[in-house]
Amino acid sequence: MSQKNRLGTGGRIDRTTPLKFQYNGKTYTGFQGDTLASAILANGIDVVGRSFKYSRPRGVVAAGAEEPNAVLQLGATEETQVPNVRATQQELFDGLTSQAVNGWPNVDNDMMSWVGKLGGKMMPPGFYYKTFMYPKSLWDTYESMIRKAAGLGRSPLENDPDTYDKVNQHCDVLVVGAGPAGLAAALTAARSGARVILADEQSEFGGSLLSSKELLDGKPATSWVKSAVDELAGCADVLLLPRATVNGYHDHNFLTIHERLTDHLADKAPVGMVRQRLHRVRAKWVVLATGAHERPLVFSNNDVPGCMIASAVSTYINRYGVVPGSELVLMTTNDYGYQAALDWHDAQRKVVAIVDTRQNPQGARVEQARKRGLNVITGSAVIEVQGSKRVSGVSVATIDAAGNKVTGAVNRLNADTVASSGGWSPVIHLSSHTGSRPVWDDKVVGFVPGPTVQKQLTAGGINGKYSINEALSEGVLAGLNALAKLDLPATEVVLPSAADMVEEASMTLFQIPHLLPTSKAPKQFVDYQTDVTAAGIEVACREGFESIEHVKRYTAMGFGTDQGKLGNINGMAVAAKALNKTIPETGTTIFRPNYTPVTFGAMVGRDCGELFDPKRYTAMHKWHVEHGAKFEDVGQWKRGWYYPKPGESMQECLDRECKATRDSVGILDASTLGKIDIQGADAREFLGRIYTNAWAKLAVGKCRYGLMCGEDGMVFDDGVTSCLGDNHFLMTTTTGGAPRVLEWLELWHQTEWPELDVYFNTVTDHWSTLTISGPNSRKLLSELTDFDLSNENFSFMDVHQCTVAGVPARVFRISFTGELSYEINVQANYGMHVWEKLFEHGKQFNLTPYGTETMHVLRAEKGFIIAGQDTDGSVHPHDLGMSWCVSDQKPFSYVGKRGMARQDCMRENRKQLVGLKTKEPKVVIPEGSQAVFDPNEPIPMTMVGHITSSYYSANLGHSIAMGVIKGGLSRMGETVYYPQADGRVIEAEICSLVFLDPKGERQNV
């Protein structure tokens, strides 16, 4: 039974290149040029899935993006699993492995199908809302069952081996869709030298022309397609993107295109190739030539495999050489639908009947059918289909002229295929992404794009212009319009033409009447993928859902991965009828990006793994790595955290680093601190306004600590700023705060004080900062410089220029540890050299590298704050006990002065930063612990503060903590309690923040 539905000749497939593929574990053969769907149909496979809610067998319905049923799981291995692939859009390749996603345990023998048989009463619309919402605690259980039964595909459990990326594009005109209208638009624009991108979701350009039998200038339409594509390919500024779906139309004419570069080649992308690419396009103008989707009719059991849309039948025959059945019944409301029966007949298969809902059709195609001797039954409809896993027959009856009721006797006809055509729905998705509301057009019997809100033009099927001649001329017109808007001269484009065919008006009909009322008749499906029936929509309307948006949410119509491409208009028509309104009165249907599902791979691009986020390194990073540093993320910086020796625990390592620094000398890579060079005659004045303390008298060569507050008076950054010259300062900021502080300075300068002569420049990356700290730091430094380091010549808070290890340096005698410290700044290209020299000479002093953790402990021993750790945006300088760092004597105000003077900032009992010493010296209070005064108070307890920093201090032999306590500064010596989640209560005494060397003698030696 090999390819029983394949024709011997015809179609755009290569019969000399057979391809093996797997579907549900069985191996089949198709041909190069097939889609997975055409190959499935060629092999006579009827069932491609089970429906979402009722578990009914479903077959291929369509031939393109609108396919609701043939949504398969692909992948030969675990790592290459891809869910949600429409078989109609997946090109066949040798070795393709596919699986139906719903059907438990399998599609042919589905344990859930009893639900479907028991039918509507078991699962009315709103079933999930009504049934599974209570008790709420069981939802997780329900959900996993529903998911398993519904079968929504699955993601791979292993990492995707393929590469996906993104690329930015710019063009004058982006043409979406390469059917007749799109090709004509692109040609028109390209000939005038415009930069054009032409994108189409299919493997080859041509759109409807690829499956059309109509002639252009007497020649097959595809020969014109070829010449048009060849010409476009020869234009320098034209980018042709086949296999590329324009999925989203965003603000400012920004569109996203999902291009599949290798999905048609193999399970995994060939070596060196990118699998999928997301194009981010900024287009000056967009021409939407997206065409239209045929609408199926809604009739009883219209979901039995074998029921298809009429144009898909033609496409499978003409493009793929596949006749998806033996005996066809066609039901149509229009002339164009006849084409399916004509093609079927020409393929030498039996057309049982053409059932036309119109009373007296006489159009050109109708006459062609009659001439071929086909059985045309008018004024009638297929009211019901028989069969379960495949159509076995149909019931045909006469209906009234309005299509509201059955008027005559029912005839049974045998058939295995029912094609239906209810007319066409323009593909307005992209247009509605922009926020443009579609407009109902009675003549088109569909929604067309409404007034555009972007630089958007439309052509062809999207406007309800379906004939080839109309599509071609609309395409040229759109191209010319775009050129005019772009102010580019137009070049003439001569179009081929097709023979005009007399086409009569179609009948406006969506739902076929049944003998029984809709609620009692066998199911009439509106949305296949979410199993929404006409009866379900009626129920929703009866239950009071009048807006189509509510009906959709209640029934789930349009909520599948196909976004209801086939069903939405039919559903609106059913709702309109139930509500006794017109379709436009019921509402409009709009769509959101994306048009078809986009893989996570394409969305992520290369921003994953090592490239997920930039990692910033200092010039000495390699040394840290080689010396076993553990790293801490500070913003995007990788900072050395601690440097454990083999077998050393983190605490042991910290103890060693802390002690070595206080006993001899330690070294910290402080290069990540933000550094801002400030120059200008008003630099000093500016500093006075931006910092809380005074800067007027800072002498050249001197450094000063400063606090920076927001307008609210709350501390947001701190650091040391040095005066390098009368008009020249160097500000340091916290590592994470550097960009924010620079922006803050620019903001105040540019918006508030532009009259101040001052410029700011970041020099963070320019300087490597090597901080040596500890009693032996002077001795160490003196080994590498001739400069007089005596306390008299180089005092605390001085900055001097000198040469260190042969490299010119700026050395700052400032200290974050309370020890004698030198911050050596050299141009970063020489940072590693100086660092290594320090170690060469540091051996004798047991020079010990330390990271951020030891830095935190050492500064906490001195009670120095870390902005962002001990402050949280609700703490002002006085709360920190840092009133010494606030000067209200400055002639001009400063940022935060007014904020600090607010009533709430002045009140008693604010949370204030204090030191905390545990009663048990070895117990370290967890950071974040809440403080209470009365440990016996019943829950909820009155919380009076929390711990901001907490460590074990090896130098002091006990734990130390910093934290805020209500009124803490006036509670010295009092006891507070920190109840823990495990029931322990840690007792601590409020004390000074300065645990070590309260007089600050160590740093002044």
């Binding site: 990326d165 930015n168 930069r195 010259g725 990356d765 320019h766 040469t803 010119p808 290209n829």
Partner: protein
Amino acid sequence: MSDLESNVEVVAKAAVMNQLPADGSGVRAESPLFHAELEVLAKQGPQQGGVHLRENKLQGHLTLRCNQNNPDQLAAVETVLGLALPIQPLTAVVKGDISIRWMSPDEWLIVVPGEQTFDIESCFRDVMTGHYSLVNGSGGQTIIELWGPDVVSLLKKCTPIDFHPTQFPVGKVVSSIFAKSGAVISRTGEDRFELVIRRSFADYLWLWLQDASREYGLVIEV
């Protein structure tokens, strides 16, 4: 070196220092991409490919901020560099081994041979008048030269800038996002570009460029 070892107090308005080690000091300079070992890759890596990359390292990077409406300052720049400040936004000028990139209406990046940095900086301090700032950022950034038939395709993966010759002719310069970092991008030839990137981001961008150029083939040159 004794003149160097002075307290900054002797410098009146702004502290200018020669930041380079003395000639013959044997001090090793490590550019931001030092650890990528580009010299080794240039020898051992592919010799053919669609994208070529070279680090133009250890140049002098001076950021000048001044007033483009001040004719004295414009004249001073020309005196010092023999090259006029590009006032036209988004343009760069090159003369010999000196280039100036327009960065913003009051900011320019002047790139000079590394060893001339201090002299040029000092010369500016002598000649420039009025309110301005000049900052040596040589250690904080490096220049990456990219060229080859696929260089534009590569750049399109990295930044949203339009590189069509009508939009981005030779001589244009922009500062923009580059991958998840940033770069100053200038076009120096039809298929030739320069990126000025920050030191701390250099490794990330080096990884990114290797990855993005994989499909074209990357040739390292020195």
